[in-house]
Amino acid sequence: MERGDTERVEITISSRFENIELVQVIAEHLCENAGVDEDGSHWIGMAVREAVANAIKHGNKLDVHKKVFATFELQGFELEITILDEGAGFDPEKVSDPLNPQNLMKTSGRGIFYMKTFMDQVSYSFHPRGGTSLVMTKNLAKGSGIASTKA
C-alpha cells in the first residue's frame, strides 16, 4: 500500500461475544501492516475489543439477530474505526469516571476509559436509522504504545 492510498475494511458480525476477537484481529493486522509495533497494535486492538463488546452488550442487548458493523479506514497514517450497532441507542458519556475514588472498586465502567486511553479521539453519535455509532481515530505515526497515550 502506498502512503496516501486509502485502505478500507468492513466486517459485520452477529451479537455474540465470541465474535469480538474477529474484529480485534482485523484491527491488529491493519496496524501491523501499517508498521505499528506489536504493543501499539495490541492496544488499538483492545480499544476495538471494548467498543465491540459495548455494542453487543449495551447497544444490541445481546440480541444475536442484531448486527455490529465495524469499518476500518486507513488513510496515510490516520486510522479511523467506526463501530455501529442496531440497538435503541445508549449514552456512553453517562458512565462514571473509573478514576474517581468512589468508583475505583466498581466492577464495570472501564471500557470507555480504556478506549479513550489507547486512541486519540473517541466520539459517539446516534445513527439516523437507530443504533449508536462510535468513531475512534488514531494517528499511527505518533506511536501507539500505552506510554504515548494521554493517560
Binding site: 461475544f17 465470541e18 469480538i20 504493543d39 495490541h42 483492545m46 475489543r49 471494548e50 463488546a53 452488550k57 473509573p98 478514576l99 475505583l104 472498586m105 466498581k106 466492577t107 464495570s108 472501564r110 471500557g111 476509559f113 480504556y114 486511553t117 500505552i146 497515550t149 493517560a151
Partner: protein
C-alpha cells in the same frame, strides 16, 4: 480460561491460564473465587502468569474477586502480573488496590 488450585499452608494458590474476557473467562473467574471462598479458603494468591488476554470485564472481575474475599475477612493478592495486565491496572489506578508479588515465597510470607 483454565484454573489450577493448590493449597499451601493456609493459602489457596490459584493459577489462571488463558483469556479473562467478556462472556468467557470473566464468569469463570467469579466461579473459581466463589468456590474457594465457599470452601473456607479466604487467603488467595492469584498466579496470573498464564493469562494471555484480559479486557475491562476481566479487570472488573479481578476487582469483584478482591471485594468478595475481603468482605469474608480474607486477602486476595496477585502473583506474576503479565506486562500488559500490569499496564491496565496502572492506568486505572487499580495497582494501588492490589498487593502484587513477583516471588511466590515472598507472597506466601505476606499472608
Amino acid at each position: 480460561m483454565k484454573a489450577t488450585n493448590r493449597t499451601v499452608d493456609n493459602v489457596e494458590i490459584i493459577a489462571l491460564q488463558g483469556k479473562i474476557t467478556i462472556g468467557s473467562g470473566d464468569t469463570q473467574l467469579r466461579e473459581v473465587i466463589s468456590n474457594a471462598v465457599a470452601a473456607g479458603r479466604t487467603n488467595i494468591l492469584l498466579d496470573l502468569s498464564g493469562v494471555t488476554t484480559i479486557d475491562s470485564s476481566g479487570i472488573g472481575e479481578l476487582v469483584g474477586s478482591y471485594t468478595t474475599v475481603t468482605n469474608r475477612g480474607g486477602k486476595l493478592k496477585l502473583l506474576h502480573l503479565p506486562a500488559k495486565l500490569n499496564e491496565l491496572l496502572h492506568v486505572t489506578q487499580l495497582i494501588t488496590v492490589f498487593e502484587v508479588y513477583e516471588d511466590e515465597k515472598e507472597a506466601m510470607a505476606s499472608f
